[in-house]
């Protein structure tokens, strides 16, 4: 702790413009990454948020969801309202925020997985491998259980179908 304080003081004393400080940090971090990790392994591994797995249905009780070809626009509108009320604090359309953006989620996950994640996040991050990886990828920020009903979760799913990738 004492050492840290001393080095902090030294650093502050040396510091010129704030811009330069920022650069200094960046350079150091990049250096560390290149020396400690294997670049090849990094590129091989797909991020949990980008991984495509349409077979995994997740855990929590939702085992079968039928999606008709036509999107139910009324249900989607309802889902949008619920999403804005309960989810938007962490999930933004078209933008990675606290959690991933919902755009294109149906290309990567099964409808059952999505509903299980909405309805049973605690169980999912404990037992589902993708959910576990997502928790790590998003800095351990837990997916909040917003106490939604199955109907509400289904409406949100319908809304997700309307989102552009």
């Amino acid at each position: 702790m004492g050492l840290l304080l001393v080095s902090l003081l030294l650093f502050a004393a040396c510091g010129g413009k704030t811009e330069e400080k920022k650069d200094g940090f960046n350079v150091e971090r990049q250096k560390q990454e290149s020396t400690t990790s294997n670049p090849e392994a990094e590129t091989d591994r797909v991020k949990a948020s980008e991984l495509v797995d349409l077979k995994n249905k997740g855990v929590g009780g939702i085992t079968k969801v039928e999606l008709p070809t036509e999107i139910d626009q009324a249900m989607a509108a309802e889902g949008e309202a619920i999403f804005k009320q309960y989810c938007m604090a962490c999930h933004r359309v078209g933008k990675k925020f606290i959690g991933p953006a919902p755009n294109g989620i149906l290309k990567r996950r099964s409808p059952e997985w999505i509903m299980n994640m909405i309805l049973h996040p605690e169980q999912m991050v404990k037992e589902d491998p993708i959910a576990k990886d997502l928790l790590i990828e998003f800095n351990g920020s837990p997916m909040a259980n917003q106490g939604l009903s199955e109907e509400q979760a289904r409406a949100i799913l319908e809304y997700f179908r309307t989102l552009e990738e």
């Binding site: 804005k84 938007m88 925020f97 837990p142 909040a144 106490g147």
Partner: protein, 650 residues
Amino acid sequence: MKKIIYSSAVMLCSLILFLSCGDRDSENKGALASSAAEKVYVAPGEYDEFYAFISGGFSGQLSVYGIPSGRLFKVIPVFSQDAEKAWGYNEETKPMLQTSHGFVPWDDSHHPDISQTNGELDGRYVFINGNNTPRIAKIDLSVFETTEIIEIPNCAGNHSSAFVTENTEYVVAGTRFSVPIPQADISIKDYKGNFKGSLSFISVDPEDGGMDLSFQILMPGFDYDLAHPGRGASHGWMFFSTYNSEEASTLLEVNASQNDKDFIAAVNWKKAEEYIKEGKFTTMPANYAHNVYDEHTHTATSTMKKEVRVLDGSLPGLVYLLPTPKSPHGCDVDPTGEYIVGNGKLSADLTVHSFKKMISAIENEQFDGEAYGIPILKFEEVLAGTVKQAGLGPLHTEFDGKGNGYTTFFISSEVVKWKVGSWEVLDRQPCYYSVGHLMIPGGNSRKPFGKYVVAMNKITKDRYLPTGPEVTQSAQLYDITGEKMELLLDFPTIGEPHYAAGIPAELITERSRKIFNLTENKHKYAATTDADVKVVRDGKEVHVYMTMIRSHFNPDNIEGIKVGDKVYFHVTNLEQDYDVPHGISMIGANTSELLIMPGQTETFVWEPKQVGVWPFYCTDFCSALHQEMQGYVRVSPETSNLELSWGLGD
């Protein structure tokens, strides 16, 4: 204080005498036996069988314990500010502590009583009285929060309170300290005949529980000490114990103990309702606060009420006085409603009156005189029996529903079990030390749950590790399922408990709320979605409509605040999951933190005095990223032209 020291000394002496008799070991064996430990052990993750709502005494609050474990679950703020929960600090709950004397941040909370239906506990509400600045509070047991407080006008020392009638038609209040009614600038020496007592009946709405001061009965200037309702056959009556029938105004320790008998006042409140209907009341000007917390706006409002209906206690058939030796304290009614027990605190005996005999004495006009126009019934004609030489200084009685009464004796420091009807003493167990109140769950209702008695002791002395001159208050738990009572456990309590109310847990747990629904949040400044987030300036007032969820505030960066502004942080917790409150506090704010439940909105005010960039943060550990839950407010000089701006993650 001197008195306490003196009485402690006396007590200690008698205790030493008592100990020297060599009885302690055998009487105390219960606690040493391993079975006592098993009886109070609630394994990790298991639940207690009963809730005990134990008065917080001079802390002004109400504590919630599990029985038999003696574990403390919650201290519900009632009459005193509580910085932990922002009670009386946040903008929403400040009105709850308003009175005709202005904002009063403390009281002396005394007697909790659980609402009843058909004379049985129904687990909807707990009522508790503030003794000092007369008030009655209602705690809603679906949320374990104080949701209503009504001030009692024409009252001083609201002690004989807050007891409910058989169907919670009324909760009562009574003056312990008689005063001029209406208040007047007169000599204290003119007490006799000029000072009056009042007994208040506060109606409780059967649907929403709303309280309303329905009427008051003006009474002679005695001290109205405790009360309990009639039940069964005696439903419709309320019984109040009195002392100081001498009407002394100085050195009461001596002067209020002159009469051989004081009274239990039997009030026929159904008769009072008739008189009200017939218009036989006077409307007195008054000024008292009625404070209501709304569950949907999450906000309290305080209204000053301006009049009260008053009945004269001498109206025919309204009140009768039952002579009772000797300065009776507790006034307790057995589960059948037939027996009214007067615990004459300066006596060795318990006096038990019969309701049937009382009715017959009234019908046959067996009067011994009157006090200010109120008939005094003949003692022998109402007496059911006496529990003789049961101990020294009886205070309070509860019942087990199996035909037994349990009475505390302060001076001889014990609980005594006696048989209702034969009045014989069955068992006695010592208390450590100087027991005041006692409680059996439902022990003052038609249906007691006679498994345990909790004794609340006035003196603790050497029962726990010393903590300097001030030691914890102490309660003791006894098993009363056998013929002999068995001491199981000591546990500490807060303040100085005056009475408690116990109830089987299952009568409450089913209705216990887990969250507040965001869609039902009608708070004026709520931001129930992130789309509602904004910062609005109105002259020097700035309103921040803020949200919180694991683990960030929105906004978390605010600029354009100036020295001299009054900044209202209206913070809504967007969580909808059980047990995920968040807190917030701001450096230098002259108030407490907020602790906001899921779906709730609360507000604190910050008046920045110094230019700079000042942080705020979440005070309640909420997730692995709790330490990251923080934000900044930039404060510019008063003359700055910087426009308001705010953001999150921009």
